[in-house]
Every structure is written in C-alpha cells, then in structure tokens.
Subunit: 132 residues, 4 copies
C-alpha cells in the first residue's frame, strides 16, 4: 500500500475565533500531504511540469471529528486509494499529538495536460514511479 | 425553500499557478454564502453569539466541475437542505458569469454552545428565524 | 488625484483567535482595493495580460491602528501616490463602519513583462488610462 | 543577539498565477518564524495565554527582492531587534536554498492583556525568558 505520514504545525493565521483551525485549511494540509507522498515516490512538481502534467482536484470530501488548535503538531496519514484512467484518489487521516482523530478526508485529482488542459489517462511516468 | 444568492469576486491571492481559483478557497466562499443566507433571516454573528451558539462545520463535500479564474464574479446559490436535531445542512452551487457551473458543494454544521462546547438541539431562536 | 473607495466584508476564516482580522489579510484587502482602482480606469487583468504586463509587489508597509472583527464592512480608500519609471505606489486607509481607522498602508508595484520577467518603464497603456 | 532560523516549505495554495509565492503569505511566514524564536526561549502560546498576554501586530514592513516559487524550502532568519515599554520588534530575512534573499521584513508587536485588551509594559515573564 502506498502511504505516507506528513507532519504540519498549525499556524496562528489558520485558527479562527472559536480557537479552532479554520475548516478550509485542512484542504490545504491534505494537499501538502499528498504532495509529500508523491515527492517520496519521485513525482515532484518539476517532474510533473516537465512532463506537461497538471493535477487539478475534482472532488474533496471531509468529515471533521475533533477541532485542532493553534500550534498543534498534526500528523496526516495519506494513502493512495485508487489510480484509474484519468483519476487518482487519496485518503487522509489527520491526528493530533494525543492520537485523537481530527478529521478524515478523501480527494480525487485528474491528470490533465498543462498546456492544453486536456484530460489524460494515467501517465506512464506516474505508473513507473508508483510501481503500478 | 430557504435559499439565497451571494456574489463573490475572486481575488488575486486566491488563484494558483494553474491560473485557477485554488480549490480550498471555495470552502471559504461557501461559508461566506451560508453566512449571507442566515443573515438574510436575521441570524447574524451577534445573534448567535448573544445566544451562546457556535456553528462548527462537521462535514464538507465538494465536486469541482470547471475552474474559475482571477477576477471572475461568481454566484453562489445556497439552499438550506435540512435542519434536524443538532445539525443544519446546506447545498451550494457556484456558477460564473456565463452561467457555467464551477462546483457543487454540501456542508453540515452542528449547533454547539459557545462557552462549554456542548452539542445542542436546534435552538428555538434559529427555528423562529427560519419559520420552522 | 486618482483615488477609489472599495468595500470589503471581513470573512470568518480571516479572523484569528483574538477575534481580530488576522493581520496578513489586510495585505490582500489592499491588493483587492488597488485592483478596483485600476479597473475603474480601464486597467483590468485582461488589459495587463494582453499587453504582457505583470505587477509584482516590491514593497508593502502597514500600520495597524484598531482591530477589525468578523463580518464588519470595511472601506478601503486607495490613492495612487506616485508613478515613475518602473514603479507605481499606492496609499491605503481602511476604516470601519463607525469611521474609525483600522490601518494605513502603502505599497509599491513594479512593471514587469509577463513573458520574460524584465523590468519595464511605465507602459504607455497605463499612462493613457490614467491620463498621465 | 537573540536570533533564530526557521524553515518553511512553500505550499501550492500559497503561490499565485505568476508562479510566485503570493506576497501576503510572507507576513504569515514571518509570524511563524517569530513564534518559533519565542518558543525557543520558552515563550509559547500557553505561557502567554496563562499570563494573560496577547501580542497583536502593530506594524509590518516588507521589501520583496526575488520571488519564491512553489515547493521551495525557505529559511527565515529572525532577530529580536528591540524590546521597550509596550513593544517588541523583529527583523526577518528570508532566503531560498541557493542563499538568494527573497525578502526582508520588520514587524512590531504590542504587549496587551488578553482579557481587557489593555496595553502593558514588557511583562516580567518575557524579560526573564529572554534574559533581559
């Protein structure tokens, strides 16, 4: 299973007046975590760019369980769930330092050409990097 | 049906290097739109606060259809979908000036006391404001 | 004098746990206000792009006077302060609904070619639009 | 001299359509770096909170030298410049992995009581932590 753990420390400007990490920020945290997973397998931004590949997000679902606060160190466990045709999907589980689940999320990105914005089947470079 | 249209002009800092509105920003747009719907029915921040009510988001699902760009005027059609026990759910449809659907989203918030963060059943003040 | 007033309603995710608009967000508000001033004079994003002009910010100074809160309607008075060689400078004064000054800021942008990122003297298209 | 180096990797949603880190984000980076400096000296969020101290920013000046891009690892060298009466000032120098200066900034925060939002002289707890 292709999985990766990323740590993110919550920033002051990411916390709202309830004292909770503002809910939209978890979307960015998951993006960061997905980037780290792909980087670990050699698929970084420059590889994508030089292969004319973009990865726009086409779906994002998130369930919030427990609020996180300012200056907490969160762990994001990211798992590649599916890669099929023009799409790649990831699951995310974010926990705090006591191991409590903050939220669980799921996102799908599409493979698109950077220049003409055409939908692509799973690029060979991605398959090879992930040993698929 | 309880519904409201809100307009938002996309900001420069909200657009990513693909030239698309960064996907996490739609979560904030939907929050803004939900706030406007509630404001229209008299449930603004001060009413909530003075009644010791907070509305943390517990679920957010979004499907991205077409990218929006910098400086586009987006319309967010917000609909109250359900209000039941400790939860209130909203649907969102975001369209651009040509009427193209940018994304569709769904969010659920919980009623929670501001001081002790206890879950609440639908507060009377909310029911009355929405004629429920 | 080239000046323009823009209104912005503060968003929930822009407020920090002190209950104040997070200080970095005023930088975006001023950008928004500067864009509106230029748009009023016919210099919108598409005009800039089709003339191969970019406007990166090279300096930003801000003094915070009074905090703004969630859901306040702020007025940003933007004034073109100077336009000279490769630079254009703007002053900003942000006030709340009671007319209290929230902050005062000053920013300078440079004229740069979009394709090769070379510094430009004030483009003719900008001079004409601003009657300079 | 009280100084600290913090590293931040730029996130996708922080980059604008020029391909540059959006200029407002450096304000958050500097906040993050200042927090890390204070944490190193034992002045973390919980210490401040339990001593009824808040640190709102009252001034921020920044000069942008070279753009940073997505996924760059930036180093923020933070220096305590002055601490006097109700104010504390910091200098920031952000460099990329090649050692190029991205920007230089300067910020001033005020000491304020968290409950009544009154201005304070430099709190003893801060003086002791910083050996002043």
């Amino acid at each position: 299973m292709i999985t990766h753990n990323t740590q993110i420390r919550t920033r002051y400007g990411e916390v709202d007046q309830m004292g909770y990490v503002y809910h939209a920020n978890y979307v960015s945290y998951c993006h960061e975590a997905r980037t780290e997973l792909l980087r670990k397998y050699g698929i970084n931004d420059y590889v994508l760019e030089s292969n004319n590949i973009m990865l726009p997000v086409i779906k994002f679902n998130i369930d919030y369980k427990t609020p996180a606060h300012y200056d907490e160190l969160l762990t994001i466990e990211t798992t590649l769930k599916e890669i099929k045709g023009p799409k790649m999907s990831f699951g995310f589980k974010i926990t705090n330092e006591e191991g409590k689940t903050i939220c669980e999320a799921f996102s799908t990105v599409a493979f698109v050409t950077a220049d003409s914005r055409q939908i692509l089947r799973t690029p060979e470079i991605v398959k090879r990097a992930l040993n698929l």
